[in-house]
Structures are given as C-alpha cells and as structure tokens.
Amino acid sequence: MVRELFELDARRMNRKHAVTVWGAGMLLGVLGPVASAQVVIPDDYATIGEAIRAIEAGTELDHDIVIEPGTYTERVTLMDNITLRGRETARTFLSGGGSGALVTADGVSGARVRNLTFIDADTGVLIQGAGSGLEIANNVFDLGGSATGVRVADAATGAGATVANNVFVQLGTGVRRLNTQITVQNNIFSGNVTAIDTPADQTAQIITNGFFDNDNEGATGNVPVTGSSAGFVNPVARDFHLRPGSVAINSGTGTDVIDATVADLGAYGGPNADAFPFPVSGLGSTTAEDNAITLSWSENLGYRVGGYKVHYGRTRGGPYEGTDAGEGASPIGVLDDTITSLTLTGLTPQNQAAPSEAPQPAEPIPSNGTLSLRWSAVSGATGYLLHWGIDSVDENQRDVGNATRVDLSGLTNETTYQVSVSAYARDAIFFAVAAHYEQPRQEDDPVVLVDPGSALVNEVEAPFGAIFEGPRSAPVLGTPELLLATPNLPDEGCFVATAAFGSYSVSQVRLLRDLRDRHLLHSGPGQAFVRWYYQRGPIGARWLNRHPVLKPLARTALLPAVGLASQLTGGTPLLLLLLLAGVGGSVGYALRENRRAGEAAA
C-alpha cells in the first residue's frame, strides 16, 4: 500500500493528499525497508568491510547494512543485492584518506548505496564489470577538487544503474558515464569542473538534474534546472539541505518521501532521503535573573524546518529530563523556525550549600606579564573564583568556571601579586536543541513538529541562581617578569638601534641591550619604556631601513644614550671618549650627506 501511494503523480495531488501520504512516507524514511533486518555498523561489526565479508561467508544473513553517524575510513567492495546506507547523510562520512575509490561495484547486481557523504578520495563510486541494477541515491560527493563522484570504467558497464538525488559538489567530474544504460536523475551538480562527462551521442537518460556554477556542465539532458546557486543551507559545514526559495525544491521527477510533494533535487529529496534535519549549532546561554536562563541557538535554515525542541536536564550529556521550568517539561517545543531563543523561568535551585574546602593552589609560575596558576579540585564545586591584587587579594576577582588551571595575564612585570582561589557551588542545567521538520499544513493550520528531530550533538551548560562560595585559599605570591631563552638570540631588524648601526652585534647596540637588561627592566618606568619601545621600535626600524640616508642622523641621535649606557654598564672612559668623538664625526657626516642630497635635488 505504501509503495502504491508513492506511485501517485504528486504534481496532481492536492495538499490534503500530500499530508496523508506524508505520514506513511516519513515512517518508511525512518524505518527503511520493512522486510529486511539490519546489520548495524559499528554495533554489529566494527567496519563495513567486516560486515560484507560476513555476508559473503554466509555467517550473516541480512543484506541491509545501516551505518551509524561517524567517519569511516575504509574502501568498500560491494556484493550482489547488498544495501549500504547511512543513518544520516549529513553525519555519516566515508573517507578514503585522500586517494582511491571509496566504493567499488565490480560486476555486482542489485546493490544500493544510499545516504552517505563521500569525502577525501579520488573516486566516490567506481562501477566496473558486467553488473546490473546498481542504485546510488541520496549521497553527497564532496571529495576534493580533482576527484570524480561516480565513475564508470568502460562502455559495457552499468546496465540498469540509477544515480539519483545525489549532490556532486566542487569535484573534477561529477558523473563520468560512457553509455545510456545509467540513469542520472534528480541530482545537483554544483561548482564542479565538469558536471556530467558522457559521449556526445550518449546523452539519453539524463533527467531533471540541477546545474549550478559548474565550469562545464557537459550533457544536461531533459528538463535541466539551472541557476546561479542551488540554495544549499551551508556548504562549508556540509549542510546540503535546501533553503526556502531554492530552485531545486519540487523540481525533480517522482515524489519526496519526506513531505509527499514533487521530488526535490539533491540528497534530501526523492523516495530514499533520510528524515533528519541538520544539527543545531551556535548554542549559548545567559542568566536572565536568579532562577531564569535565556537559551539561544543559530537558526536552522532548511526549508522544511518548522521549529525546535529544547531539551534540558540536570545531567551532563543527558538524559534531558528536566521538569521544573515554568515553560514546561523537557523537551519544550518552539513552533517557529525563526525563533532562536527561549527563556526558562522558575527553575528550582537544588543546591544551597557552599563547598566546605578551599582549593590548594600551587606556587604561581611566572612569565612575561603572566602568572600560570593551578589548584586542586574541590569536591562539590561547580566553579572557582580567582582573587588577586598587589596589596590585597580583594582588589580583583574573576570567575574561571570549572577550570583548575588558568593563566592570569595582563600583569605588570617585576611586581609581586597575591593570589587566592575559592570554590563555589551553583546550579546549572544542561541543554541541547533539535530542529524538527513541520507537518505539511494549510496556511492557517497550526505548526505540528514531527519526529525525528536533528541529533542532539551540541550541549551547553547554563548556570543559574546564586553562587555559594566556599572558603578562600591562603594567598600565594607570584612575580611575572620577562623571560630569557637559551641561547639569547636577537630578533633582527626589530630595533631602531640595530637598523641605525647596521648590525645587532656592534658594540653600541650591545651597550644599549645591556642598559635594557641591567637597568631599565628593573624599574617601573624603565619597563614601561621597554614595552613602548617593543611596540614602536619595529615600525621605526622599518622606516629607517627604507630611508638609509637618515641613518647617520639616527646614529647621532642615539649616541648620548649609548654614552649613558656605557657609563651605567661599566664601560671604559676610552669608549666614552670614542663615542664623543663619534658624535662630532657623525654630525659632520650627516650634515655633508644632507647637503649632498639637497644639491642633487636642486
């Protein structure tokens, strides 16, 4: 009965018919072929290859291999009458590790490959030998720039094969076909070098495919659908569901299993599409008031999505069995796909006790403007507060969440800080959001969300309520400072002096380095000057290197500083005398150079 319903010409169906058929279609889409039991990867066999070998050996009787979401790095050789299908196209990846053919159909008959995303290989499906009736449906081929999605090895291959409702995206060649025995129907070819590569006299059986932004479309066949964009939701995130208004919606041949309307093009249309929306991302939370939390997420732009269900509970990772929110027990329906936030109110605090122990911090590890802190975890704590300051730990406070090691940065070098840590307890809920398709409806009918929703792959912890702080640890002391690496090497071209004197290792530059290390870094104003110089110095050095004629002037300007450095760092009077003599020489040289430059300009 169900199959007969799908034979109806959906173009002639009215909406009420569509609603009736939709329910049965959803059931079929979720449950799959009824007659056959399933082999589940990785529950029954760790790899697809193991399952196929067991079927070939006769130790496994079922031929319907269902692959749970995940990435499977293996190459598969099909056998007769086997069905290989992912549970969710968008989350079930077959990867080749960069080369080879992911699935090889060598002379097999009646095999099916459905609902998979092919990545990272030279070829998605290779068809060779004298098989028949192969079906490749509702897959995404996102293999890489020079790869081929479906490749037929020779002209005698592929009798009765169907390549339907797939997405071929950013490939060298989408489908390479050598005869008309392979039907290519309802696919989307987007951003490929060549969409369909087939001999010029072999263009039959190419029906209602979509061609978008390909360099060379090849044979486009009957009733091609074209445009500048297929209208995918987010190709970068591999969400190839269709946005509202996409020209690929209801443009195919046959009927959609999801909503019983005319088949969409692409991986989520036709009779074998999976029924799962793409997972919801971008989850976040803010505490609205003591016992209320505002949850937020990113909109799922798939055109069939009619709303969301918000799952919440008190246990990390689920089950989400919360019941105390004023908005209802988990899951809470949001019957509008454009609404992307929900405030849960009236949450009941369950924890009113502060941790009884103080964390035990280790001695802070200093580095440049930073103290690295670690402390022992405290039983019952949901987070930690950091207290620090120069004269008192009460000067600053930061909530660091449930981390037990933190880098406290933005501190002043050569200054000693006191740091203390306290543990706190605070209530929190954990929440996740599923997108749901809506049941087809008339304009004024209420939205009815249908199961299954998208997978709950993203979870967020949302703290709320008062913080119950435990005792603080005894303060520990730490002093950040500039670090010295061994060997102590210069960064070339970064400083005005190096640029002016031409080398990092000349005696004048060494004197200035000694001045920095032995005097400037040991006083507050000196450190401030060094920080300023580290920011501005490279700019000045680059400018000076672009205007070498001014280097004598720069050397002259630096000589007083070099002389001072010589005295402060224990330089000899002879060097000072030489430097003073150098001042005169440099001034004379600079004046001469400037005069020459002026004469040349005149």
Binding site: P366, S367, L482, L483, T486, P487, D491, Y504
Partner: protein, 207 residues
C-alpha cells in the same frame, strides 16, 4: 709477510686496472640524527644535551671523487626559559634552526662497487634561526658561518645485487648507500654560537 706487502702494492693497481664503469653524476641523501649545540648548559633548559636534526642534500659530481652539494636541514628542540630575577625555569621555548649548506666534498671512491667510501668536505653555512618564548613573542634571524663534515658511505647494493639492478633499471638509481656522518658547524650571532656537532645517519641514492 712478503705476500701481504705484495698484496698491498697490488690493491691500487687492481682498482686502477678495472674497466671504466658508467658513474652516476647526482646524489640525493635523506638523513637524520642528533645535533649537540655548542651552548653551555643546554641540557638544563632543554632536558637533554642534544636536539633532533633532519635534512636532505643534493650533490653533483664534478669529478669522480669531487662533488658540489647543497643541503638543507631542520633542527628543533623544546625547552624552558629562565625567569632571570627569580632564577627559575618557566615558560615554554621552541628553538629551531634551519641551516643551509653549500659544500665541496671529496669521496674516496675508486670503484663503483667499492663497499665502503670515506668522504670529507666542508663549506659555507647560512644558519637561520627561530626562537619562540611563551607569552613573549618570537626572535628570528640568520648568521653566516662554515661547516666541516666527514663520514663513511656503506654500499647497500652488495647486500642484494638483484634488487639493486632492478632499482637501476626502473628508477635510474645506480647506487644506494647507508651513510654515517659527523659534522661540525659554526655560525655566530651577537656573540652566540649557533653551531655545534651533528651525528647523522642517512640513505644516499646515486643516479
């Protein structure tokens, strides 16, 4: 004893008397090993007294026993910096050297089937460096210097002559050697010696 002396005298003559063989012009060597920096207290900051070194060398034989080559290497170690006023080790340091060498090499080869070939050479070195300190930024630069290298090459073709013939036919590799090399490098920057001693093992293909 007299027989031994005769044998010694005959050896060079036997080598010289061998018919002329086609000698390969190019060699490509892949090598790796340890670099012992010429820096005091290296192990205090980096945990052990050496760093790891990998490299590749391409050489051209201008004469049967003389070759000119170019080599590039990477030396890397990770350690800790010093907080100078507190005298403690803290903060991660990544130290990398990228030496480039141009060199002239003498190889004591008298026959293409000689199983042990000593060699000695040296040349110019450009020592590029990069040093990163956690929370503090990076220092980069380069220094010029020199290097001396010496070692032995062990002909592997004699272990499996048929495989060697296949390699020659299919890939044009005439000889394959296992190499043992010691190298002294020197390049100074700002009073800091960036060089050191390397001990390297490698595989060399002549084609």
């Amino acid at each position: 004893m007299r027989r031994f002396v005769w044998l010694l005298l005959l050896c060079p003559a036997l080598v010289l008397a061998q018919p002329a063989e086609p000698s390969p012009r190019w060699s490509l060597e892949l090598k790796g090993g340890r670099f012992y920096p010429d820096v005091e207290e290296w192990s205090r900051f980096y945990g052990q007294d050496y760093a790891t070194q990998f490299g590749v060398a391409l050489a051209y034989k201008v004469h049967r026993r003389w070759e000119l080559g170019l080599a590039g290497e990477r030396i890397k170690d990770e350690g800790r910096a010093l907080a100078p006023t507190q005298g403690i080790l803290t903060g991660n340091v990544t130290y990398e050297l990228f030496p480039l060498h141009a060199y002239l090499l003498w190889r004591g080869v008298f026959s293409e089937e000689q199983w042990l070939v000593p060699y000695l050479g040296g040349g110019w070195t450009r020592m590029n460096y990069r040093q990163s300190i956690e929370n503090q930024g990076r220092a980069e630069g380069a220094a010029d210097g020199y290097h001396l290298r010496g070692g032995v090459q062990l002909l592997l073709d004699r272990i499996d002559p048929s495989a060697a013939r296949r390699a020659a036919r299919s890939m044009g590799v005439h000889n394959t050697y296992f190499t043992l090399e010691a190298m002294q490098t020197s390049a100074e920057k700002g009073g800091v010696e960036l060089g050191g001693v390397s001990y390297l093992l490698g595989v060399l293909f002549e084609f």
